[in-house]
Symmetry: none
Subunit: 221 residues, 2 copies
C-alpha cells in the first residue's frame, strides 16, 4: 500500500486529505511543520510527500532540500503563491509537481496518482535464503533450477514473509486455500512436504521449514 506523508499547518486541509486518500487505499500520516515532517519522513519512509510551502517554522524550499539530501521520493508541493518564479524554484529544487491553492481535492488526488505511477512501489523483500537456495519472491525464482507450482508459491510466500514467527495452520489454510478450507489440514501436510523435498537438503530433517505440532509451521532463516 502506498504511504503518503501530508505536511500542512491547516487542520482542515489535513483532515480532508486524510479522508480522501484513505478512501483510495493510501496509508496516510501527517505533519504540521517542517521539522516534524523531515523527522517523520526519516522514520516512517513514506512513498510520497505532499508538502505545503507555507509552514510556520521552515522555508518550504528548505524542506525540499532536506528531503532530497537523502531520498528520491516524489514531492508534490502545495502553495498559495502562484508566481512562476516560486514554481520554478520549487521544481528545480526537486519537487515533482506544484499545485496552487485553492485547489480541488480530486485534482490533488489525481496528481498524486499520476506522480506515483512513475515511481514503482519499492519492493521491500528482495531475496531470501533457505539453506542452499536463494529465493526471489517477486520474480518467483529459486536458485538451482528448482521450480515451484502456484500453490507452493502462495504457501512459501506467507511463511517467508513472517521469518522466525509461528504461522498458525488456520492462517495458512485461509490465506492459501481460502476460508472454506479452514480445517483441511491434510493440504498443509501435502504441500509442506513438497516444499521440503524441493528446498531442504534433508527433507526428513528440515532445518528451515519447521513444524510446530498442534499449532502450525515456522520459517527459520
Amino acid at each position: 500500500m502506498t504511504r503518503v506523508l501530508v505536511v500542512d499547518d491547516e487542520p482542515q486541509l489535513l483532515r480532508a486529505l486524510r479522508i480522501n486518500l484513505r478512501a483510495r487505499d493510501y496509508e496516510v500520516d501527517v505533519a504540521a511543520d517542517g521539522t516534524t515532517a523531515l523527522r517523520r519522513a526519516g522514520s516512517w519512509h513514506p512513498d510520497l510527500v505532499v508538502l505545503d510551502l507555507g509552514l510556520p517554522d521552515l522555508e518550504g524550499i528548505e524542506v525540499i532540500h532536506g528531503l532530497r539530501g537523502w531520498t528520491e521520493i516524489p514531492i508534490i508541493v502545495l502553495s498559495g503563491r502562484a508566481g512562476s518564479h516560486d514554481k520554478v524554484e520549487a521544481l528545480e529544487a526537486g519537487a515533482d509537481d506544484y499545485v496552487t491553492k485553492p485547489f480541488d481535492i480530486e485534482e490533488l488526488v489525481a496528481r498524486i496518482r499520476a506522480v506515483s505511477r512513475r515511481t514503482p512501489a519499492t519492493e521491500p523483500v528482495a531475496s531470501v535464503r533457505v539453506g542452499e537456495h536463494t529465493i526471489d519472491l517477486a520474480a518467483k525464482t529459486v536458485s538451482g533450477g528448482v521450480h515451484l507450482t502456484p500453490t507452493e508459491w502462495r504457501l512459501l510466500d506467507v511463511l517467508l514473509r513472517n521469518p522466525g514467527k509461528l504461522v498458525a495452520q488456520q492462517q495458512l489454510l485461509t490465506t492459501v486455500w481460502g476460508p472454506a478450507y479452514k480445517s483441511e489440514t491434510h493440504y498443509l501436510r501435502q504441500y509442506m512436504a513438497q516444499l521440503r523435498r524441493k528446498l531442504e537438503r534433508e527433507p526428513a530433517h528440515p532445518r528451515h521449514l519447521l513444524t510446530e505440532p498442534g499449532m502450525g509451521y515456522r520459517y527459520q532463516p
Copy 2:
C-alpha cells in the same frame, strides 16, 4: 539528448517553446493536430510529449489514449480549461502533468525537467538476444528478417523489460490489451505461440519465452 514533441495549433506558442527548449539542449519536433501527433510519436519516438488539448481534429483525451496504448513516455498537457474535472480526466487517462493556459514558459520548462527527471534514461534495454535473434526494442527491429506486429511488440516489450522475472498473466493482459481484458487468457496463449514461432528455434520446446502454468510467463535471457 532529450527529444520533445510539442503538439499545439498555435504557431506562436510552438515557436516560443521551440526556442526555449532548444536553448536548453532539447531536441524539438512539432505537430499541429492530433493525427500527425500520433503518427509523429510512432515514427520519431520522442522522450516526452507536450500536448495541447484544444486540437482541431481529435479530442485531446483521444490523443492521450492513443499514446498510452503503446508507450509510457511522459505527457504534459496544456489546456485552457481550468476545471478540476478536466484535470482529473486527463491525469487519469495517463497524463503526467496538467498546465493551465496562460502559463509562463519558464514554468513549463521547469515542469518538463521535473517530469523527465522521473523517467530514467529512456531505453535501459537497447538490444536483447533471444536465442538466434537480436532484438532492438527502441528501433522495433529483429535480426534475421523477422517481422512482429504491434501487439506482438507490446507483449514482447513487457517480457523483455523484466528479464528472468515472472510476469503475471493479469499484468500482461492489462498492460498489453487494457484493464478490461484482465481474464481473457486465450489472447496470451495465441500471441505467446506466435512469438515463439517467430523467435524460438524450437517453438515446441521454448528456451527463452517460458510458461509458468497457473501464473504467467517469463523471459529467460
